[in-house]
């Protein structure tokens, strides 16, 4: 990473959030250790995405919530966000989509930035599509552009909301490998509904359940990510994780 410093850890304490009269979170604690990949799973509607949005600053929690980085500097400006859809702007070329952050902050993309964008597009295998419009790309290609855009931001904390849910199984595995490689060393929070995805990529897997939301004790997949799909340890954990998810479904 360009900063050359350790990525921040994030600590969410006593989080409280009421949504539509329902107390979604109350006394929720979440820790994102520095440089680790954390995945959140849980039944639909349990509030996974809302946790992510809270960390991103897109949702304001209620008191007595506190959220702080371990290095006690503000989180604003240190976050990259990757959503459920690719969210590419159809009127911009692929390259301009990758450098969108510059445009939105009112800074011109300099030669170094352009070179970095080109390099990232090359890493995700889309060097030849730099001038194409998103409409000309397949779903998997669009998602790779979104990944390049997330990486271009070069933030130590990366928040991802089911980023690979809209692509086919094989493309998803390739994108996971790519993400594991390119996001290594950053603090990552991933929301997913795919147990395999969580177990392949994460250092810690947490299951959310109930109302208000409770976190399960973390599952710790062994070995370096990305893990092989047929890794026996991973498959054993997948069984455990599925059982927890089923229990979470009943609990909520």
């Amino acid at each position: 990473m360009s900063q050359g410093t350790a990525p921040p850890s994030v600590h969410l304490r006593s989080a409280r959030l009421t949504y539509g009269g329902v107390r979604l979170f109350d006394g929720l604690d979440l820790d994102l250790p520095s440089g680790q990949w954390i995945s959140l799973l849980g039944p639909s509607g349990v509030g996974k995405t809302t946790v992510l949005r809270m960390v991103a600053g897109l949702v304001q929690p209620e008191p007595p919530t506190t959220m702080a980085a371990g290095d006690s500097t503000p989180l604003a400006g240190r976050i990259a966000w990757m959503g459920q859809q690719d969210l590419l702007l159809p009127w911009l070329s692929v390259r301009d989509n990758v450098t969108l952050g510059d445009r939105l902050r009112g800074t011109r993309t300099d030669a170094a930035g352009m070179a970095r964008a080109s390099r990232l597009l090359q890493r995700v295998g889309l060097a030849d599509e730099a001038t194409a419009r998103p409409a000309a790309l397949s779903g998997g290609m669009r998602q790779r552009v979104a990944l390049a855009r997330t990486l271009y931001e070069d933030r130590p904390l990366v928040l991802m909301d089911e980023p690979f849910s809209a692509v086919d199984a094989i493309t998803r595995l390739r994108l996971q490998d790519l993400a594991a490689e390119l996001l290594a060393g950053r603090t990552v929070l991933l929301v997913t509904h795919d147990p395999l995805e969580a177990l392949r990529l994460s250092d810690r897997v947490l299951v959310l359940s109930g109302r208000p939301v409770r976190l399960s004790p973390p599952l710790l997949p062994p070995g370096p990510a990305p893990r092989a799909v047929d890794d026996p340890g991973l498959l054993a954990l997948q069984g455990q994780l599925l059982a927890r998810l089923a229990a979470a479904e009943v609990g909520s």
Binding site: R53, L89, L100
Partner: protein
Amino acid sequence: MTALRALITLAGLVLVWQGLVWLTGLPPFLLPPPERVALRLWSDAPLLWEHGRWTLLEILLGLVLGTLMGSLAALVLAASALARRWLLPLLVVSQAIPVFAIAPILVLWLGYGLASKIAMSTLVIFFPVTAAFYDGLRRTEPGWLDLARTMGASPLRLLLRIRLPAALPAFASGVRVAAAVAPIGAVIGEWVGASAGLGYLMLHANARMQTDLTFAALAVLALMAMGLWTLVDQILRHALPWQPDSLSAGERRHR
């Protein structure tokens, strides 16, 4: 191909018209046959041009002014909650007053010349542009806004870099409607009080039972309106190549 289809449609309409004249035996001052109108178009071409160019000027100026003001109003509404609270109800109420009703007042205030007609066209065009554009500005994909916020975009940049381009297809719809209704404003203005223009010419020809001339003027007006719409449509299509067009996707490929 498109031109050929248009010609076939036109020929069909003329045939129906001619058939109607034969069947009903209406006198020419009530329903002039196509060839008399065609003759008028030919023999009175200088007169029609003389009046037509005034109307065209009124329409074009009205379209430009109305589109500019409509866009500005939509942007102000999108940018400011205060404007939404105070201006939006006013805009809606203003549409309850038909332009037809205020035409005489506008002529009284702005005179018999160009100004009152341009004001009329502008008024007719203003609302569809404002409504369509504002609607587009409101309906930005929420994911884009989230993304832009996490990237540290200010509200103004959010408006100009995300909301505005995202609303351009809606804006284009508004301008297309505006181009189609623009002649209404100009012609009403000319009816109420003018010394030139196709509306004025039609009114006079009608009063003198020169129904064929009225029809000829109407044909010129229709031609102008269609030409304007086509021109605007083409410009907008070229300006917004990313806009998905599922109906003509088979006919044109865009990147």
